[in-house]
Symmetry: C2
């Protein structure tokens, strides 16, 4: 063991060093992480007991190859005995079993979170006298004294004002309710941020940027551990209930991934193989969205389009299965109480008209603009938080924002209700019986003949509707502002619901505007022919739906998955074309203003090492310009296949994690690649087991040992640990091809040759730094081990 | 030019030969193709004017790299002048513009095909007196004498019996109608097969196996040409109208791909680049399904899951856009006349119960079994056609099958109607007013109290229903048999509708069975608690839907895309979980009985060179075992970077399409790779332009010309044509990794080295042959240039 210790004490001077302390301290400085729970195993831990492994790269090809070897071994053995056969069968099914477990666990957790968040949200407003554990709705279900019209008013449910002052009328009661609302909100927020800071710093945020980074082939230790899971689940409920402008959908993806990672430990196949584990995590991301929205297919596509890096068809099928199980579990728990998976079911099926594509595309433009603007503002704010003293007081920040939100939100009924409720209300179309303020139209006049009996016909707006529109406009401004400063705080926070809420408000406003325009101008050339008086030609709820899709699209840049999520959410399958048109417009507009979606922007902000699979590498550099050693650097540290002694082979002066093996120093003809770790272990073992191995012993990597000098110590034959198939590219390979190879194969490093001679090495890190340099960013801002 | 000619006359002896004549003749022998219209350009045509290019491999990496170079050049130039800037902008938008055109063209064609097929199908039964160009439905629309109940009977529409004999009653009239039906069917079929054989042999079949092969990076010349497009469009209408058990959905994918390929010629970017063109074709496949089913999202996913090989996110977005445009175009044409894109809109939204998952999973098992069985039977039949004299009479075969279909189908109303009509009827739920035979229930009795007013309540089956069930059972057997021999004939034929029809019949039968079981046993432990008397607890239409999805899944092995297509088709978004469960079961069962879906099976049957991206390569061979030259073969033909003369460099004794360039014969250190074609062109040019270049001139591939002997002819410097970044793997690389590299990067060939010395070469063909060998198939059955 003293060798290992010596290696750690010694220090090299060139770039390719594994400096755990430095990496960890960088990480600490920049993302304010005090403690990381060491739950996630890493196959790249070079030294025992040290916290290396942050942002280590995994080597997909090797990991996959390792798994295939393992699989072959099991298959071959299976012919020998029944036990081995059973093992082989169980191994083949372990993937599906794991998916089943992930689906069940995530579905159950999501159901629990839904129920708990519902209860805590209602607790801010009042208490159920029958039992404090009932939420408002359940409380009134048990009551017999409530009618269908007034189903949300029952004597069992009492607002805080009623409980404290005995009355629910008057200014004083209002103030009491207002204060209690703020107190509860602050309490929940405080609890959430305190728990996050105390136990699991990784539990904050939406988690999607980090999961993208992990899936792209890096290791963030502890990010998907059990503490993160427990704390994120609890604090998510608290954060949502506190009334902050955030959603639970993004964090549920993180929760599902934590479940998957923990369950991976049950199966050797997945515990020991980082590549296989990432397949499971991709599926878990699908499960997350599946349970968040009750949209299993949308979840699979979300994982494919937005989160995953490597998504083969096998993973598609597994994701599909896991999402199915999760949706089914959620369906059985039935947290929305309507025996539907659909969150915002829309009742209307009115057809849309071609002319309406114009406002839909306008909504798409609005969504794109808002998305681009939001990303810029949010990133600027987060950068400010990182660089100024603001970042030192995360608890205070959360409390101030919560207080601000609560104070401003309570007076306006559209901001007081939760984001999901708001969206459901905005998506809803007005029937004649609807008592909502949004449906405050004037009663239909008798002049319209065809409209008699058509309860959904366009009607002129009344007083109630005008008030509602004003409130909605205020809510829009408020939501737009507060979401910018909320996303990125040290509590779990998702973006889906706030973005959709902004879009839904804008859409509803435009929809009502169009409706009134059509009502008063049904003879103008625009509406003539398809919008006769008394007909239901404009459906404001549809505009809200399209607006919600546009804004979510602008922020996340999703397309296909977004449309599928939208119609899984609403059941509005007739509206594929409007949704697609708005989403596409939104993506175009937003992309024109800034290439990155919110998750990529946060990845870059935090300096995660992420090799973007979407962008093409446009620069014309060659591999020789990017590889190490640079021209001024000392030559590459290599091992020769024979003639080196154990002492030399340890290469104590450098701390590279691996060494190329060449035929001889003169020819520099490449034989293979050997990992430092394997070298150390092998030498260590040899010293223990094989007598006479000393530092002067020759290390031999050839197939046949050379003729041995009689007087020397016995040679140490290490061909077994050499990877005889290292990836190589030539120095003249254009960088775009090299980047493509790294992306598609998921390499960790690649050797560079010139005319058959070894010249250098290029790693993912070199590529990321090079890309940062091209983009005029600081290459050292990228966290990397 | 005499050099080229000489090269073609000379013959090598080892494996890696480009023998155009042989390849073409093999193709002719095995797939019965006499003429191929030379419309598709090939960048790999080695000799002008010769029909090489069948199953040539394209090199994705080089093509992509070429495109990036082109893009960079345009971008750099764009700063110089306004014209160049405009060129740059138009280049950036050409992809989207092309997508727009593809969507418009495919949408318009699909609309036309729908209308024409509808008309011709009705022509088999009768004629519209108002105008022969009206189909049955349109004919009666124009009539005022028809009531809503009898909207398909109007005096303007006369059956052939009425026209000929003057009456529509009696046995004689029936026989006249019967005979006219058969005559028309035979006429359509004859016309279809004759057109296919005369003008475009590639127009037959569904086209999806070939498109998969093309998208995986091979070239099939003429397969996507304008003749194929024209003939396929016409014959598709005829084949569908002839009443054969086939659908138009698969062939529409081929039609859309032809449109895309032809439109590619408008844009240099896509005309000249095979890789970019394949991106467009992937999107076109999505467009095909989008217009076939009116399912844009399902189309995108179908392209992703089933057809495409390389599907980056950019292609996803473009496919999405193209599918949107196509769906929109179709929506505007409105061929179904219901202003809905949804083909089989279901009206029911009744919830399903957990217990029902058991029959749904049973349907999944049935679908899987049927899928596996169908594939085996169909492949056996197609193999028989290829190997026996049956294959020599394709016209006769089509006529016999058509006659058989017509004779057997006419008496049974469920087989007489078209596949799409049958599916629509089976998906439909029975209301009290429904006059269909399938809804021949006994009127509700008064004993059930809760059922009063519930028009969808479960009722006991009546006479009509029992008759319908018998007919359905016969139709099921008939459809199952006839589809096996229909698919693969020399007419355009799709599988989607026949597979779905089989499943829908089976599902409906099970559904009615369950309904009756529930009606008579509502007190048993299974139905107790959720199925009270008079309630609508079982929806037979839903069972038909689930059955259709199962059977289609069993045949094609689709999962996610299938579910999305199903709910885009039906609007039944509440039934995601049943559909997913049945589809997953079906895939599992079918996969257990045979790994290949119908398209992969046909690819293998026809010997197309297709590197399956789904299957893992499980064998433990090393690259050295697969590469050429084999141990017994002569050494690899290489060029040295200097010292060879023009005469030697032509390597006249071999016909390899490319040569590695090495430093020297002794060292075998690899410098690069040069294509034979480039070499020939360069030498030819040099002879024309540069004086004194003769066969004795030295060919130099180095950067700096060596010191030149004064007396000799001037050296020919050819470094410019050397690819300095050839891909290499070592001889010890496990084949699974090599296969992975070929798959993911889309390579054409890869050089093999050992300790830095060049050892051999491995091509996609070698890999395909090796894989065939492992699977105990004849490696020479694979068509390959």
């Amino acid at each position: 063991m003293h060798l290992t210790a010596r290696l750690i004490d010694s220090r090299g001077e060139t770039g390719r060093q594994i400096d755990a302390n430095k990496a960890a301290s960088t990480l600490r400085k920049s993302t304010d992480i005090e403690a990381a729970s060491p739950t996630e195993g890493s196959s790249y831990m070079l030294t025992a007991g040290r916290p290396v492994g942050y942002f280590n790269t995994i080597d997909w090809v090797r990991e996959k190859s390792k798994d295939r070897d393992r699989h072959r071994e099991i298959t071959n053995k299976s012919k020998e005995s029944t036990v081995a056969l059973l093992h082989s069968v169980s191994d083949a099914f372990s993937g599906w079993l794991l998916m089943l477990l992930v689906g069940l666990m995530a579905g159950a957790l999501a159901g629990g979170i839904d129920i708990a968040a519902h209860w805590l949200t209602d607790l801010k407003e009042g208490l159920c006298l029958v039992g404090f554990w009932f939420n408002h709705e359940h409380c009134c279900w048990t009551s017999n004294e409530t009618t269908f019209q007034e189903r949300d008013r029952c004597p069992q449910w009492q607002s805080w004002a009623e409980l404290i002052t005995g009355t629910s009328e008057g200014a004083f009661a209002y103030i009491v309710n207002y204060l209690m609302y703020i107190v509860w909100a602050l309490l929940f927020a405080l609890l959430a941020v305190a728990l996050v800071r105390a136990f699991a710093p990784y539990a904050c945020g939406s988690g999607i940027p980090e999961i993208k980074t992990i899936l792209s082939g890096f290791i963030i230790r502890g990010y998907l551990g059990k503490w993160t899971l427990i704390i994120k689940t609890i604090t998510l409920v608290l954060a949502v209930s506190s009334g902050l402008s955030l959603g639970k959908e993004g964090p549920l993806v993180h929760v599902a991934c934590c479940c998957a990672n923990i369950l991976c430990h049950l199966f050797t196949k997945y515990r020991k193989n980082e590549a296989k584990r990432r397949e499971v995590l991709s599926a878990a991301a699908a499960v997350g969205v599946s349970v968040a929205f009750g949209a299993p297919i949308g979840g699979v596509l979300f994982s494919l389009e937005e989160v995953s890096y490597y998504f083969p068809l096998k993973t598609l099928w597994r994701s599909f299965f896991a999402a199915l199980v999760a949706a089914f579990t959620l369906h059985s728990i039935n947290p929305f109480g309507n025996s539907r998976l659909v969150l915002f079911y829309v009742e209307f099926h009115a057809p849309w008209h071609l002319v309406e594509l114009v406002p839909f595309i306008l909504l798409g433009i609005f969504g794109g603009l808002w998305g681009a603007l939001f990303i810029r503002a949010n990133i600027a704010w987060c950068r400010r938080r990182k660089s100024t003293r603001l970042g030192h007081y995360p608890v205070m920040e959360v409390l101030v924002v919560t207080a601000l939100t609560a104070v401003l939100a309570y007076p306006n009924s559209y901001t007081r209700m939760s984001g999901a409720e708001l969206i459901a209300e905005l998506f809803n179309d007005c029937s004649l019986l609807d008592s909502s303020q949004l449906c405050g139209y004037k009663p239909p006049t008798n002049t319209s003949k065809t409209g008699v009996g058509n309860s959904l016909a366009d009607r002129p707006a009344g007083e109630g509707l005008y008030t509602a529109l004003w409130q909605l406009a205020l809510a829009l401004v408020f939501k737009m502002m507060i979401t910018v400063i909320t996303f990125g705080m040290k509590v779990p926070s998702g973006l889906f619901i706030p973005s959709m809420a902004v879009g839904a408000i804008a859409g509803r406003l435009l929809g009502v505007g169009m409706e009134q325009l059509a009502y008063y101008n049904h003879d103008s050339f625009i509406f003539k022919g398809w919008c006769s008086p008394g007909a239901d030609c404009i459906t404001p709820g549809l505009y809200a739906m399209v607006g919600a899709a546009s804004c979510l699209g602008g922020v996340t840049r999703m397309t296909v998955s977004l449309v599928v999520i939208m119609f899984e959410l609403t059941g509005g399958l007739e509206y594929i074309v409007p949704l697609m048109a708005a989403t596409m417009t939104s993506k175009w507009v937003a992309d024109a203003l800034g290439r990155e979606g919110i998750y990529e922007a946060h990845i870059r902000l935090n300096g995660y090492p992420f090799l973007e699979p979407k962008e093409e590498f446009g620069h014309s550099s060659l591999t020789v310009d990017v590889m190490r050693p640079r021209r001024s650097d000392p030559a590459l540290a290599v091992l020769t296949q024979e003639g080196m002694t154990v002492g030399e082979a340890l290469v104590e002066s450098t701390r590279y994690s691996g060494f190329p093996v060449v035929v001889s120093q003169e020819s520099q003809r490449l034989v293979g690649f050997v990992l430092r770790r394997d070298l150390l272990i092998s030498i260590d073992n040899a010293r223990k087991r094989q007598e006479g191995v000393v530092s002067a012993s020759q290390v031999v990597f050839t197939e046949h040992a050379p003729a041995q000098a009689d007087d020397g110590p016995p040679p140490l034959r290490l061909r077994g640990i050499v990877d005889l198939s290292p990836f190589t590219v030539t120095d003249h390979t254009p960088m775009d091809i090299t980047v493509d190879i790294f992306r598609k194969l998921g390499l960790r490093q690649c050797l560079v040759t010139h005319n058959g001679r070894l010249l250098g090495i290029i790693t993912k890190k070199d590529i990321l730094k090079h890309m940062a340099q091209i983009a005029n960013r600081d290459p050292d801002s990228i966290l990397f081990n």
